[in-house]
Symmetry: C2
Subunit: 135 residues, 2 copies
Amino acid sequence: MLSKKTKYGLKALTYLARVKGKEPVQIAEIAKQENISQKFLESILLTLRRNGFLGSKKGKGGGYYLIKEPHEIPMTTVMRVLEGPIAMVPCVSLNFYEKCEDCPDEATCSVHKLMIQVRDSALDVYRGNTLADLL
Amino acid sequence: MLSKKTKYGLKALTYLARVKGKEPVQIAEIAKQENISQKFLESILLTLRRNGFLGSKKGKGGGYYLIKEPHEIPMTTVMRVLEGPIAMVPCVSLNFYEKCEDCPDEATCSVHKLMIQVRDSALDVYRGNTLADLL
DNA sequence: TCGATAATCTACTAAAACTATAGGATAAAA
DNA sequence: TTTTATCCTATAGTTTTAGTAGATTATCGA
């Protein structure tokens, strides 16, 4: 399941991408338009800013804005920041690899074999889409 | 993330598929060989039996066995029973469809658009693999 | 028929993850 | 210096996951 955090994060990014220009947009506006709890969205936008997707401005007229063009933001990076590893098991993760405790040999593991394929197909999709493609 | 339930279920199915013949295999044996908590595995095998993947026999010489040939068991059905919907959001699920509360229009929803692609690519993988392919 | 074996079933619990919420601190603008 | 809006930490409620406990039922072999 996709977490609400990721879902809301994607919606917020899309919202900002649709706004013409680079004017800051307030959390409250995004939350209202996209039916998201404002406080929850606040923490999501914070992590998006800390990870280099958004810029922010405090005080009156402040808010959040994209610091890159939508077509420069691949879904791979967005998903990894919001949702975590793209792989469904750590032992097939490219960026978050971990060995399974219960599994003596990856080479002969049936789960490993299947999940490699699932990971690669998901990667294909995320690599093939930027924020611009979702508009 | 793939749940342990699904992971263990897949391993158990693979184990049974590797056993020659249709002799029942005891839970204890599978649990030990695959490093799985026996009681937990017990409940997993039970749901696999209830969903038509396994047969069982009680008493001495009893255990679980596959009731179909491995190549007749597609990963789509296994995943749906163990892990649930293949789609990451209910609004793009073929078998478990539900409308999102927060989303006024699926046709213009960016998350929907992306998750359709992810679902389809995962489906391709699961449809292209039977239990026999994991051996 | 009896005892051992092994699945069946219900109920329960501990831990982790998810989805928020509270409330004050900080910075900018008017 | 007041208003506005982000920043930040902590925490609480709920759900899901992962696993346990213990009694019951069916089957086999002697």
